[in-house]
Amino acid sequence: MRKRITELLRDLGARVTGWIWRLGFASRFFAVMLLQSGTSFRRFHLTIREIYFAGVLSLVIILVSGLFVGMVLGLQGYDTLVRYGSAEALGVLVALSLLRELGPVVAALLFASRAGSAITAEIGLMKATEQLAAMEMMAVDPIARVVAPRFWAGVLSMPLLAALFSAMGIFGGYLVGVRMIGVDAGSFWSQMQSTVDFHEDVLNGVIKSAVFGVAITWIAVLEGYDAPPTAEGVSRATTRTVVTSSLAVLALDFVMTALMFRGV
């Protein structure tokens, strides 16, 4: 019995120290990545190539999901608002929920599973097939050449993807609300315009999505770089990327919402 308890405590202690060790490693990795990011701007075509993989190839899923999320918001919002005789406020409802929350968060979750997992798998496989070691052998820093461009590509793509998601969603809400159900188009747009504030809503959404972009790609490149160089190791690292970055996005979203929209 006592032996079991000792084992349990030892296990717990090992987990905690492991976790703290990992946090320290992640911070050191982040600092090195920032210091080594000169290359990704001097040889910008490296970053452009990664923007293509992270951003352009995520376009379809982002646009289609945005459209459908907006259309569902339009249907559900109308159903609730019409009970209080304020169906014209549908534009406000759709725009605010997309700009403040759904746009950045859902786009970030999609980005984590579409692009984050791909980044982890690619870097992990590069490590498993010893491409990273070969680069070091040729005096090419793999962090500057492989990791930093992917990081910056993710950070630059994420706000654009979130903006596209919100714009598509508002268009979807317009299609359902105005075209399908028949809410007055004039009040749909004018109420939206008089309520939505550029700094309060649009800029805060952009800030949110930029922070999500940093968090997701940081986790993705770290998991890839740190993955055990086996098939199983890479597959586990890819799963961990999606799980950890989704949780990080939701937790960060709560913290930022509490800071940004307090008492307004």
């Binding site: 075509h45 452009i48 190539r49 923007i51 293509y52 951003g55 352009v56 376009l59 725009a95 700009l99 793509s157 706000p159 654009l160 993807l161 903006a163 596209l164 919100s166 714009a167 598509m168 508002i170 747009w189 939206m192 315009q193 008089s194 939505v196 504030d197 550029f198 809503d201 649009v202 952009v206």
Partner: protein, 159 residues
């Protein structure tokens, strides 16, 4: 593998439509163009009670939005609320303009309504409005109504 030129093209398209979406959000959804470019000037009004008036509430004259509430404060000497409004520089008002706190609809948001007076001099930056009317507080209204009802009841009682 794609050529570098083709890659650049696709990334260029992506960045362009991304920025386009941001522009759409700023101009069409948030209506940034309405107030950003023009100059504003501040005028101050003191109220006994501002009810539920908040910062960024609209200031309207004849139903047209001419500015926004920029600051709500409390004066320790007079125990009044001081409301600072920033008015779009395109709109000029006479010195004896009065301000009322109104409610849009029955349960809607509160806003400030300006009614122009007849003075020939115009309001300048930092001026204070002399005539103001406070917000209608529903509880006060109900208690006044109940008092007058009670008074009526007393009069009608058979002697």
């Amino acid at each position: 593998m794609m050529s570098r030129k083709e890659l650049d093209l696709w990334v260029g398209v992506f960045v362009a439509i991304g920025l386009g979406a941001l522009l759409f959000l700023a101009l069409k959804v948030a209506n940034l163009s309405a107030f950003s470019t023009s100059q504003t000037y501040a005028i101050i009004a003191r109220f006994d009670n501002i009810g539920g008036l908040k910062v960024r509430a609209p200031v309207k004259a004849a139903g047209v939005v001419v500015g926004r509430v920029s600051e709500v404060g409390f004066d320790n000497q007079t125990f009044e609320a001081t409301v600072t409004m920033s008015i779009d520089g395109r709109y000029k008002f006479p010195r004896d303009t009065s301000a009322k706190i109104l409610t849009s609809g029955l349960l809607g948001e509160q806003y400030i309504g300006l009614s122009a007076g007849g003075d020939t001099a115009e309001l300048k930056d930092g001026d204070t409005l002399k005539i103001t009317q406070s917000a209608v507080v529903l509880e006060n209204l109900i208690s006044q109504f109940l008092y007058s009802k009670a008074a009526e009841g007393d009069n009608k009682k058979p002697q």
